[in-house]
């Protein structure tokens, strides 16, 4: 599988930058470990300085000076407006629909945005035991927008997930019953997929620089639906790449 890159940036950089760009200034964003953490903090350091970071550990409006290495870093509690208990976080904040944007990862995702982070194989006797659901099922159910960040490959983008950890639009795309919007964007290292407005089938709508429709199709385990017009994603800017590098190097922002 070809990895689109340039001299300046990798496909992983592009994925994180594309995710960061989706955050609007003022959004309340629930941040998980890994790429979401990078993307949300990147947004805060670039175009969305007033993006509000909420961590499921209980930190509300955290303003981490360095990229946190876990969702429970002391820096998060120390810089948050308020720190609440985990039950309160899930009941009064996530479940109540106060999150504008939730980020999710996936070990497997199907064409209707259903996500597996639990097991490959059978639940009782799995071939691969994955970390599990964590906060994802409730984020998937209740956030205003849900952005999935995941590298695209036929092993990950599967016809049918082994286990539904978080519900997208259900087995046939029509079973969604939760109050939140469901996965609104799937951002990969190839481009962006969005649910079809009618059928909810994930559809390729944007491509990262240097990636072809054929590569995206080849990286998908089902016959990928492609939008009539594909938007070309702008390459990461110098400012975005600088901020990303600083975050990865855990350089502190000026107070």
């Amino acid at each position: 599988m070809p990895e689109p890159t340039s001299a300046e940036w990798t496909s992983a950089d592009m994925m994180n930058v594309a995710a960061a760009r989706e955050l609007l200034d003022g959004d309340v964003c629930l941040v998980g470990v890994g790429p979401p953490n990078l993307a949300a903090n990147l947004a805060r350091r670039t175009h969305a300085p007033n993006c509000r970071l909420v961590y499921e550990s209980g930190a509300i409006d955290a303003k981490p000076k360095k990229l946190p290495l876990s969702i429970g870093d002391d820096d998060l509690a120390a810089t948050a407006i308020s720190v609440v208990s985990v039950p309160e976080m899930f009941n009064f904040w996530v479940g109540a629909g106060r999150i504008d944007v939730g980020f999710l990862g996936a070990a497997q995702i199907d064409r209707f945005g259903n996500i597996n982070t639990t097991v490959i194989g059978d639940h009782a006797n799995p071939k691969v035991r994955l970390p599990g659901a964590g906060g994802a099922p409730e984020i998937a159910a209740a956030a205003g927008r849900v952005i999935v960040i995941v590298k695209q490959s036929p092993r990950t983008f599967v016809e049918r997930v082994d286990f539904v950890s978080s519900v997208g639009y259900g087995p046939t795309g029509r079973e969604r019953q939760a109050p939140g919007a469901g996965p609104t964007l799937v951002i990969t290292d190839h481009g962006v997929l969005e649910p079809d407005p009618v059928t909810n089938e994930l559809t390729l709508t944007r491509l990262h620089p240097g990636v072809t429709v054929e590569q995206a199709i080849a990286a998908t385990g089902w016959p990928l639906k492609v939008a009539d017009s594909i938007e070309a994603v702008a390459a990461p800017s110098e400012r975005e790449l600088d901020a990303l590098r600083n975050l990865r190097n855990r350089e502190p922002v000026d107070a």
Binding site: S57, V83, T118, A133, V167, A178
Partner: protein
């Protein structure tokens, strides 16, 4: 409960073979020292409850202390897999581990219901997931006013909950602050509760967001400075991120893990 007791005494008296045990702390204040003492005393057949098994349960599982686990996210945060947990589930090493699996919201609410001595809790989420197939712990309930169907989780009531906190006072009341996770609920849901603390003070300081637990809901308090290492205690220590990284290599290999256990005087339990 008033005077602190040695940790070994607290574990000996309150943690028994076959108990359902919750050692809580969400990234912060994870009671590692207490877990190691449980292993040293050779406890077996435990049902371990914890939102994030983290290294603390990876170690107890690898040492063979646990028959069952109740959890909601079993990764090494920011690093990757919990290899001992995976080896137990995928390969039954050192023996079979029965998995009961929640989402964070589900397990947090299960503790809350337990703390209120209610048999179940109601929440949004879960619906349509395959987690619902665990009908003994996740079900549905219908709102008697609106007819809406919602998720329900069975209450969790550990035999004993163990937490680490920053402070106890002279009367044995306990104070913790920073990210306080689900510790209050875990302690109040349990039949017995053990707390390890960084130190004992005459008077609690003011801390916004602090949780205070009165001595009469606690079974034992033990003074164990740095008892949360390699996690941290806000105001006392920082997270040992390097150890979390190193654990990946240690835990990935059974021999390396057993060597680590032996070096840390944790071997006895695993082969008892």
């Amino acid at each position: 409960m008033t005077s602190p007791v040695p940790l070994a005494d607290a574990i000996a008296e309150h943690v028994h073979d076959g108990d359902t045990v919750a050692l809580e702390g969400f990234t912060h204040l994870i009671p590692f020292a207490a877990a190691h003492e449980i292993a040293r005393q050779g406890r077996r057949h435990l049902t371990l409850v914890r939102m994030t098994p983290d290294l603390i349960y990876d170690q107890l599982i690898g040492l063979g202390c646990a028959d069952e686990i109740v959890f909601s996210y079993g990764g090494n945060p920011g690093v990757g897999s919990l290899h001992r947990l995976r080896d137990a589930v995928e390969n039954q090493w050192p023996h079979r581990l029965v998995v009961h699996e929640h989402s964070h919201a589900g397990l947090a609410n299960a503790y809350s219901a337990g703390a209120a001595r209610l048999p179940f809790a109601v929440l949004r989420g879960y619906r349509g997931t395959d987690l619902e197939e665990q009908r003994d712990i996740i079900s549905r309930v219908t709102c008697p006013f609106t007819g809406e169907e919602l998720a329900a989780v069975k209450a969790v009531n550990p035999d004993v909950s163990v937490i680490h906190a920053q402070l106890a006072d002279r009367e044995g009341n306990v104070m913790l602050w920073g990210i306080t996770g689900v510790q209050r609920e875990a302690v109040l849901a349990a039949k017995r509760a053990i707390v390890t603390v960084e130190e004992v003070v005459d008077e609690f300081p003011e801390h916004t967001g602090a949780v205070i637990l009165p001595n009469w809901v606690l079974s034992a308090v033990s003074v164990v400075p740095n008892g949360a290492w390699p996690s941290y205690a806000a105001g006392y220590s920082v997270r040992d991120n390097d150890f979390y990284q190193q654990w990946d290599a240690i835990s990935r290999d059974r021999e390396a893990f057993l060597a680590w256990a032996a070096e840390n005087d944790l071997k006895e339990s695993s082969n008892a």
